[in-house]
Amino acid sequence: MARFVVRRLVGMVLVLFVISVIVFLIFNVIPNSDPAQRIAGKNATPQLVANITKEWGFDKSLPEQYLTMMKKIFSGELISYNSRLNVDEQIVKGIPATFSLCIGAAVLWMFFGILFGYLSAVKAGRFTDRALTVLAVAGISTPVFFIAAVFLYLFTFKIELFPASSYVPFTEDPVAWANHLILPWISLAILTAGFYSRVLRSNMLDAMNEDYVRTARAKGLSERRVMSRHVMRNSLIPIVTLFGLDFAAVVGGGAILTESIFSLEGVGLYAAEAIGNLDLPPIMAVTLFGAFFVVVFNALVDIAYAWLDPRIRLGTPAQ
């Protein structure tokens, strides 16, 4: 186990390094214009551009530029030249809202994904299954921000069921917190719930043909017990794997669209505003931290998995 953890962590550090290099390349090397000009933002004076060139070392070699950029991002002295605000502070400020949104949505998509997937598999081919399939496919095909916009219009304006959103801290008023987050939670959860219900359905249908299920039936177990204890259990493994990846991806970027529509003051809204102004320093930091979060979270999930499942830590692929 210790060997697996060390190996996995070394791999993680390498990937983090490569990712930081890619982020550097994306923002400062690949584009065809003066990086100082782009970082300075829309209302740049020649003086500001000259200052940035010097401060970021754009007249120096690429490795030096890379080190300067990383130092700026990680030391918390990165500022946006558009808004004159410290980028890292703004990001930290947005974290509670982003996590509130993502965790709530994750609970919803797991619950409904599993429920609908289970129903679909148990009633395979019948009306319930077909209706759920249509719902799932529609959910997978609809842009998140479109669902969010329609919800916003229907349920905060046409029928005033929920408050027009902004974020209320949980510590301030838990009821208002939830009330403001219900629509964003649902919007963000729909796509993944649809996707998971499809995955679970097909896994369960496969599992139903396995020998151990026939054995369970032969033992005289009730259909319900066969489904929940034998079929469902094994079929959930890929869902749990996907969950790790998807949750990380939603925190590390997927929430941007939902936050910007519901004006939830999280990291995503901050990023969305920066994109609208083509204000690069915040986007650099959000990209880097987002990708870092994904990699670190996945490494932790893997380690947790290896702890649970010896096949993984011994290096044989689990089937």
Partner: protein, 365 residues
């Protein structure tokens, strides 16, 4: 856990030695080759065909943009009509009311002008914009999917054929790109390239060119397709027909493109439809945020972005382009799924793999 992608060979001509899957047209009815069988299975799938018809309708709709613009609406997608009035069923109405609210759908009340009303502040004809915006969205969807497909095939072939260090390098690169959330990578590239554009050798692309979102979206999905293709090639590489080709003295190019590639035909076709759907969704998301299609071009995504700011007074400006995206992606998804069923009924990769995540590995360094 689906660790390695299905090692299952593609149905078409698998293990058929030096015999390649015949071209669809060259098959006689009695022979009923794999392509012919797939075609028959597809014809029996009514739902898939209905959604194909819907997709064709949408394409026809956006292709008709210049005609509608010229003969019916008499205006272009970027022509503003802010201070003008039009006669709707004989009554004079302002295109944009003094309060800033644009006119809603007037259908044929003004002879086809402002069929769906005008868009926000600038008073542009929404119907004309919808048709031209759809061209952009569909163009990006297909062009980006083509780029993804070409790169994924090349990388998958190189990786799977040469194995060894070539494979190690390519596989690690794909893993790193795969670690980025797709949206985040698109945003990073989109904002970085929107200002000054891109310069690759002698080719210079301006920041507002449609090529920028096409290249970006094409690029970010490469790992999602290249990884499964690499897996399939690695499995096929071990088969006797490759050995036979080597024994005949076939070079690497011939083995890759004439022996291995044809076996992947059905995988590639199905992935292409998935790529089109995903590319269109990503384009819409990026454009919505301002990191995709840049003015003066517009797409369904930028139209929604403009509509959201006035959603309370003119909800249709958000709903109409949103429905168009949804219907298009839906039709591609359902048809693609039918295609998959027809080409490879045994395969497990279906709609569930749409987001490219079913190939997820537990240990994704």
């Amino acid at each position: 856990m689906a660790r390695e992608p299905q090692a299952e060979p593609a149905p078409a001509g698998a293990g058929a030695g030096d015999e390649l899957p015949p071209a669809p047209r060259g098959v006689s009815a009695e022979g009923a080759g794999p392509w012919r069988l797939a075609y028959r299975r597809l014809l029996r799938n009514r739902v898939a065909l209905a959604f194909l018809a819907l997709f064709v309708l949408i394409v026809a709709f956006v292709l008709a943009a210049p005609l509608w613009s010229r003969y019916v609406a008499h205006t272009g997608p970027n022509t503003t009509h802010t201070l003008e009035t039009i006669a709707v069923n004989g009554k004079k109405r302002e295109v944009v009311a003094p309060s800033g609210v644009p006119i809603g759908p007037v259908w044929f009340g003004a002879g086809g002008k402002f069929f769906l009303g005008a868009d926000g502040g600038l008073g542009r004809d929404e119907m004309v914009r919808l048709m031209y915006g759809g061209r952009t969205s569909l163009l990006i969807g297909f062009a980006a999917a083509a780029i993804t497909t070409i790169f994924a095939i090349l990388l998958g072939l190189l990786s799977g054929y040469y194995r060894g260090w070539v494979d190690a390098v390519i596989a690690r690169m794909l893993d790193v790109i795969w670690a980025f959330p797709v949206l985040l990578l698109g945003i990073a590239l989109g904002t970085a390239l929107a200002v000054g554009g891109l310069k690759i050798g002698p080719i210079e692309i301006s920041g507002s060119s449609l090529w920028i979102p096409i290249l970006i979206i094409g690029f970010v999905y490469v790992p999602y397709m290249a990884r499964p293709i690499r897996g399939e090639i690695l499995a096929l590489r071990e088969k006797e027909f490759v050995e036979a080709a080597v024994a005949q003295g076939a070079g690497p190019l011939r083995i890759m493109f004439a022996e291995l590639l044809p076996n992947l035909a059905s995988t590639i076709i199905v992935f292409f439809t998935i790529n089109v759907a995903n590319s269109m969704l990503l384009e819409a998301a990026l454009s919505f945020l301002g990191a995709g299609v840049q003015p003066p071009n517009s797409s369904w995504g930028t139209m929604i972005s403009g509509g959201i700011s006035i959603i309370y007074t003119s909800p249709l400006l958000t709903i109409i382009p949103g429905l168009m995206i949804t219907l298009t992606v839906l039709s591609v998804n359902v048809f693609g799924d039918g295609l998959r069923d027809a080409l490879d009924p045994r395969s497990k990769v279906r709609l569930e793999a749409r987001l490219g995540q079913a190939e997820a590995e537990g240990t994704a360094i």
